[in-house]
Symmetry: D2
Subunit: 429 residues, 4 copies
C-alpha cells in the first residue's frame, strides 16, 4: 500500500471546501466545450494519464555562479529527496516518477528501489554527470569528458555512464540521458571535427552497453558552461548523433537550450517527423538557460510545443516521448514550484487537446491564416484549470495543491529534522 506523507485528512478537508465551486466550474466549462463539440470527460481522462518526471536535484534550492541561498529544510540526501518527490506526487497526482543524477544520488540501488516503492514512485531516465569532478576521480573534466583530447579521460567518462546503466537496470529505469558540458572557451582551443569524432566514438561505446529495451537520450545546449563552442550545440548536431548511434538513440529537447528567437516548436516537429524526438526537459527562460518554472515566462510557447506533440500523436500511435521537469528554484520553495509546474505542463497538454484538428487543417489548406491561428488561440485561451483540478481530485490529489501543502506545514516539519545549510558565496564570478 502506498504511504502518504501528507495526512490525507488535510487534503480531504481542503478539497471539501472547494469541491462545490469546482463542480460548478467544471460543468460550466463542460457546457462551453460541448458547444465546440468537445467532451470534457475525455480530455480529463487524457490529462489524468499524463505524468511528468521530477528530477531528484530539483527539490533542492538552486543557485547561480554568484551565490546560492538555501531554503529551510533542504533535503540532505537522495532519500530526503524521494520524500519531497512523494509529496509532489501525492498532491498533484501528475508526477509518477523520479529521475536520478549519478553520482549525486548514488546509494545502494535496492535501497533506492524500496524507498521509491513506498510511495509508489517509479524511476525515469538515469542522468550521468561528467560536467563536474567527483571526489577522488582520477581524471579531471576541466577540458572535457566524452570528447576530451585525452583518452584516459574519455574512458573514465564512458565507464561512468556504464555504471549509470547498471544502477538503472536494478532500479527499473529504462533510459539514460547524457548531457555534457564539453566545448571550448576560446577560438582554436579545440578542433571541432576531432572533438566531435571523440564524442561519437565514446557514445558508441556507451550505446553498445544499452539494454535492448532502453533508450539513450542525448541533450543539446547552445552554451554554458562552455562559452565559445559546445560540442552538442543544437538539434542539428543532436540529430546527427542519434542517426550515428542507432535506433535506440533519441534527441532530448530542453526548452531553455536554444539560441535567442529560435522557433522551438518547429524543432519539435522536425525531430518527431524524422523519428528522433526522445523527450523533454521542461522549464522556461527569458535570456539563456535560466531554468525558470515551466510556463512562467511564455505560456503560449509551452502550448505550441504541446500542440506539436498532440499533432505527432495523431500521426504515430507509437509516439511516446519522455517528459521531465528540469528547473532551478532559486527564490521559491522547490516543492511548490514543481507542483505548479507539473500542473502547467498538464495545462498546456489539455489546451492542445482542445484544438479542432479538422478545422485547423481546413484553414491551413485554404490558406486562411487567421482562422488557423484563431483555432489555436481559442484552445489556449480556454481556462482548463477545472479539468486539471477534477483530475487531481478523482485520483486522490488536491484541488489546490499549493494551499494544501502550505496548510500541512510540510516544510516547517522537515526543517526541524534537516539541519540548516549555510548560504553559499560560490566565489565563482
Amino acid at each position: 500500500m502506498t504511504e502518504h506523507i501528507i495526512d490525507p485528512s488535510i487534503i480531504e478537508a481542503d478539497n471539501a471546501a472547494r469541491e462545490a465551486d469546482l463542480r460548478v466550474d467544471y460543468d460550466s466549462l463542460g457546457e462551453r466545450l460541448d458547444r465546440r463539440g468537445i467532451a470534457i470527460d475525455a480530455i480529463k481522462k487524457k490529462v489524468a494519464q499524463f505524468s511528468v518526471a521530477v528530477p531528484s536535484w530539483g527539490v533542492g534550492t538552486g543557485g547561480t555562479r554568484f551565490a546560492r541561498f538555501p531554503g529551510k529544510g533542504e533535503p540532505r540526501d537522495i532519500f530526503d529527496k524521494i520524500e519531497d518527490c512523494a509529496v509532489i506526487a501525492q498532491l498533484t497526482q501528475a508526477t509518477k516518477t523520479v529521475s536520478l543524477h549519478i553520482p549525486w544520488d548514488k546509494a545502494d540501488p535496492n535501497r533506492l528501489k524500496q524507498a521509491a516503492s513506498r510511495f509508489n514512485l517509479g524511476f525515469d531516465a538515469m542522468n550521468s554527470n561528467t560536467f563536474s569532478d567527483a571526489k577522488g576521480q582520477l581524471q579531471s573534466y576541466k577540458f572535457g569528458s566524452l570528447s576530451a583530447s585525452d583518452a584516459a579521460t574519455r574512458n573514465q567518462a564512458i565507464e561512468h555512464n556504464l555504471e549509470c546503466i547498471e544502477i538503472g537496470k536494478t532500479i527499473g529505469s529504462k533510459a539514460l540521458t547524457v548531457w555534457i558540458g564539453d566545448g571550448s572557451n576560446f577560438p582554436g582551443q579545440v578542433n571541432f571535427a576531432t572533438q566531435f569524432e571523440h564524442y561519437l566514438d565514446a557514445m558508441k561505446s556507451i550505446y553498445a552497453a544499452l539494454p535492448d529495451d532502453w533508450r539513450v537520450y542525448t541533450e543539446h545546449k547552445m552554451y554554458e558552461p562552455a562559452f565559445y563552442s559546445t560540442v552538442v550545440q543544437d538539434w542539428g548536431t543532436n540529430y546527427l548523433i542519434a542517426k550515428e548511434l542507432g535506433e535506440k538513440a533519441y534527441c532530448l529537447v530542453d526548452l531553455g537550450h536554444h539560441a535567442p528567437n529560435v522557433n522551438i516548436e518547429m524543432i519539435v516537429s522536425r525531430l518527431a517527423q524524422f523519428g528522433k524526438l526522445g523527450g523533454f526537459h521542461f522549464n522556461d527562460s527569458k535570456y539563456g538557460d535560466d531554468d525558470l518554472d515551466a510556463g512562467s515566462i511564455d505560456p503560449f510557447r509551452l502550448f505550441l510545443v504541446f500542440n506539436e506533440l498532440v499533432d505527432a500523436e495523431s500521426r504515430d500511435a507509437d509516439f511516446h516521448p519522455a517528459h521531465m521537469l528540469d528547473q532551478s528554484h532559486n527564490v521559491t520553495d522547490p516543492i511548490e514550484s514543481l507542483m505548479l509546474s507539473a500542473a502547467d505542463v498538464q495545462r498546456a497538454y489539455a489546451q492542445a487537446l482542445l484544438v479542432d484538428r479538422e478545422a485547423l487543417k481546413a484553414a491551413q489548406e485554404g490558406n486562411d491564416a487567421l482562422a488557423a491561428t484563431l483555432e489555436l488561440r481559442r484552445a489556449f485561451r480556454t481556462d482548463v484549470e477545472p479539468i486539471l483540478a477534477q483530475a487531481r481530485l478523482d485520483q486522490g490529489g488536491a484541488i489546490d495543491p499549493l494551499a494544501v501543502y502550505r496548510a500541512a506545514g510540510y516544510r516547517a516539519k522537515v526543517a526541524e529534522i534537516r539541519p540548516e545549510v549555510a548560504a553559499g558565496s560560490s566565489g565563482i564570478v
Copy 2:
C-alpha cells in the same frame, strides 16, 4: 582576347605610383613570415587562385521595405550588370564568375554567354526565384511556393527551377541554388510536417532533373520574409534535405541567416565533416540578414570561417565549396563595395593559411587553450594586404582597386548612358 572596360593605362599609372612601397611592404612581410616558417610566395599563389562569384543583383543599389535610394548609373539589365561585374573582375582579379537570378536576368542564353565571354567571365550557380511573383505568373507565391498547400503552385515553382537548370546548361553553369521564403506568419498557419513534406517532394522533382555533373545547393535562413516560421530555417533542416535528396545535394551557408549568437564556424565544420557543405553566401550582419559587406562588422568571424575551410581542405583534397558574395549595397557604390568585399574574403583566406596547423594541433592536444587561440590571433593580426595587392598586380589588376576605379570615373560615364532611377518609397511597411 579579353576586353577591358577600364583603360589599362589608368591601372598601370596608379600601380606605378604604388609599386615601390608595395615591394618594400611585401618584402618586409615576407621576412616576418619567414621567421614563422612561412613562404610568402606560396600564400600569394593560393590567394591568386582563389575566386569568389559576384551576384548579378549585387551591382544594383539595394534597399529595405522602407525605401530604396538608387545611385547614379544603375544597371538597366543583365548586360549592364555583366559590364559592372567585368569592372570588378578586371580591377580585383578575384571574381571570375557571375551568378544569375532568374527571372530577373532572363535573356537569350546564347547572348548571355557571349556577353560574359567578352570579359572572360564564367557563370556560377543559377538562382531561382519563387519568393516573389513575376508578371503574368498564374499562381501566386503569397502562401508559399515549393511547400505551398496548393499543388498547382508547387508545380509552377518546380517548373521554374527546371527552367533555371535549362538556362544554366546553355551558359555553362554547374549548379542550382534554391532559396525560398516559404514559412508562416502565425502559429497554426501551416502544419510544419505537412509543409516540409511538400517541400521535400518538390525538391525531389527538381533534383531528378539535375545533370550528373551539377550540384544543387539549398540555403537555410532563420526568418524573413516569413516571421513566425520558415520551412528551411536552419542547418539542421538543411542537412536533412541534403540527405533526403542525394549525393549531388549540398547545404549552402549564408553568414547572415542564423539566430543571434550562433557559432557559425562550428556549423561550417559540422557540414564539412559530414560531406554536405556546398558553399557560401558571404556578407556580414549585426542584427539579422543585414546583408552588409563581408567582414565589415566582424572580421574575426570571417577569419574563423576560413580557418575551418582551410582545416577541411587539409582533411579532404576533394573539398571545393562554392564561394559567392551576397550583399545589399544601400549606401555605397555597389561596385566599390563588391571590390573591397572580394578582397576581404581573400584576406580571411590568406590569414587562415598562415595558421601553423601543427602547432595548433599540439596546443589543442595539450589543452593549452591560450597557446591555441594565440596561434589563430597571430594569423589574424597579420596585415596581409601586401600579399593581396601583389597577387592583383601579378595578374594585371590594381594594387588599389578603389583608387583606380574612382580615378577612371566609371560611374560618371555609365550615368551618362543609363537613365536616372527615381527613389522608391516602397510603401511597404
Copy 3:
C-alpha cells in the same frame, strides 16, 4: 448621424444568433469573478472606454523587401482607407481614431476631416515620413534626414514635420509622432555624437512649433532600415531626447523595436515612473520588427505590458498614454487582422484589470514570489472574451466581428470598385 458601412441588420442578425450563449458565458464568468471580489460590469465599463487608434497604412497589405502580395480590394487612397477604418470601428467599437502618415495620406485637410466625421472617427497622432524620398523632393534622405550631415537635408526634414503639424491642427490631431530611419550601415560612416547633436537640434526646431496642447512622441528602434547603428536606437536615447526637448515630449514604445530578450514591460515601467511614457505602437514579433498581429506570438508579454499600465494608472490619475496598432498584414485581410488585434489589446487590458493589486503587493512585500506570480497568471488565464463581446454588443458592435465581416462580404464589394494591384517583386534584396 454616424454613417454605417456594414448594414446594421447583418450585425443584428449575427448577434441575435449568439446572444443567448454570450449571456450564459458572461453570467458564468461574472459569478467566478464575483468569488474573487471583482464586479464584472466595472471591468466591462473600462473596456468599453478603451480605444486604440488604427494606422491608415495598416489597412493596405504589407510586404517585405523581397515582395509584396496585395490582396483584393486594396484601398486606393486615404479616403478608401478611412472607409476601411470605419468598418473596423463599427464592428469592434474599439478603434475610435485613425492615425495619418504624411505624405502618403496628404489631401485637403478639410476633406479629410469631413471624411472621418461621416463615421464619427477622430484623428490620432500625425506621422511624418523622412525615411523615404517623396517624388519631387529636393534633398534625398539616403544618408539621413533630421540627423543628416547636410544642413539643407535636415532643414527639409524639419519643414516636413512642421507641415505635418499644420495639417494636424486643421483636422484636430493633438500629437506628432516622429520615427526616422537615420543611422549608418558601416562602422565609422557617421560620428555618433555629431549625428545625435544634429538630431537634437532639428527636433528642437520642430518642438518649438508644437502647439501648447500637443505632444510630440519620439520612437526608438534598434535597427532597420539602418543595419549598423540607429540614431534613436533604444529607450535610453529616447529618454535623453524627451528630457532635452521639454515637457510636451514623450517616448513612444513600439513592442517590436527592441533587442532580443529585452524585458519590455520594465522599460514601460521606467518611462512611466519618470513621466516620459507617451504611448505605444502595438504589434508582436518573434525575431525583429516583424510587425505581426498584437498578441499573436506572445500574448503573456502583451498582458505584462498592460499590467504595468494599470499599475501606472493607479499611481498617477493623469496618466493617459496613446495607444495605436502598428502592424504589417502580409498574409491576412488587413481589416480582419486589425479587428482582432484591437480586441486582443482590449483583452490584455481587461486581464490586467483583474489583478488583485492589494494581494499582489502583499505577496511582493512578503517575498512570496510564487503567490505574486500566481496572481498575475490567474488574471491572464481568465478568458475575458465574454466581457469584450458584451462591451461590443452594448455599443452596437458585433459579438463576433470576424463572422459579421465575412458574412457582409465587404472585401468582395470593394474589390468590384477598387482595381486589382499587381504583385510586386520589389527587386530590393
Copy 4:
C-alpha cells in the same frame, strides 16, 4: 624600491633574444606609419601611459554554476592575489593598480596598503558585494539587497557599501563600484517602480558618504543572477541613476552585460556625450556575460569601443574613464590570460590612435561611407604588436610576457607553497 617577483635576469635574457627582431619590426612599422603621417613614438608614448586595473578576484580560477576546476597554485588570500597581480604588472607594465572586492579581500587596510606598495601597485575602485551572503550576515540577500522590500536588508547593504568606502579611504582608492544582482525571477515577483525607488533611496545614502574627490560607478547588466528582471538592467536605467545621484556618479560599462546584437560602442558614445561615462569592465562574450578574455571573441568590437574613447578624448580634455579587466578564467592560467588581455586592451587603444580623424570626419561629412569605414579598418588591420612590445621593453617589462612567465616557472613555484584546492561540483544546476 619596487620589489620584483620574477627575477629580472630572466626577463633580460628573454628580451635579449628578441630585441633585434623587435627593432626591425618597430622600424618597419614606423616607416609604414610615417607614410600615413603618423609618428610611431608618439603612439608608443600614449600606450606606455595607458594602464588597466586588475581585479583581485581575477587571479583565481573562475567557474560556472556547474563546476569549478581550480588550477595549481591558487592564491589563498588577498596577499597571494597581490603577488600574482605584481607579476602581471612587472611583465606587462600595463596594469598599475589592483581593484579589491569586499568582503572577499577584507584585511587590515594598512597591511593591504603595504603589500601593494612593495610592488609599487596602487588601488583602483573598491567593489562591494551584496549579491551573496557573507558568513554571519544578519539579513540574507536572497530577495535583493539595496532594492529589497525589507528595510533592514537595505540598510545592511548600505552599511556594507559605507564600510567599503572607509577601507578605500585608507588604502588610497578614489572610487566605489556598485554592482548588485537584485531583480526577480518571476513576472510579478517585484513591483518595478517600487523596487527602483528602494534602490535609488539606498544609493542616495551611499552617495552622501562619498568623499568629494571620489566617484561612484554603477554598473548595469541585462540578466544573471536574476532571470526575469534586473533592477539596473541597461544603460538607460544606469543613466537615470547617475543623474539622480549627482555629479560624482557615473555609469560603468561591462562589455558582456548587454542584450544580444546591441551596439555597445554607441552606448559608450552616448554616455560620454552626456558626461556620464565612468569606465569599463573589459572582457569578451559570445552569448551572455561569458567573461571571456578581452578581445578574444570580437577584437573589432573592442577596437570600435576605443575608437569612441579616443574620439571622446578629442572632445573633452578632462575625459578620463576608469579601465579594469573583469574576466573569469576557467580553462587558462589566470595570470597568463590577464597579461594577454591587458595587452589586447592596449592594442585596441593603439589601433584607435592610428585613425586619421580629419580624414574620417571629411568622409563622414561627404557621406562617403566606404572611405570612412576604410579609415577605421586600416587602423584596425595594422599590427601594432611592435609598439606594445617596445613600450613594455622601455619600461622594464617583457617583450613576450607569456614566454617569460612560462620560462620563470612562477606557477610551479607558488604551487609548492599554496595547497591544492579540490575541484568543486557546485551542485547548483
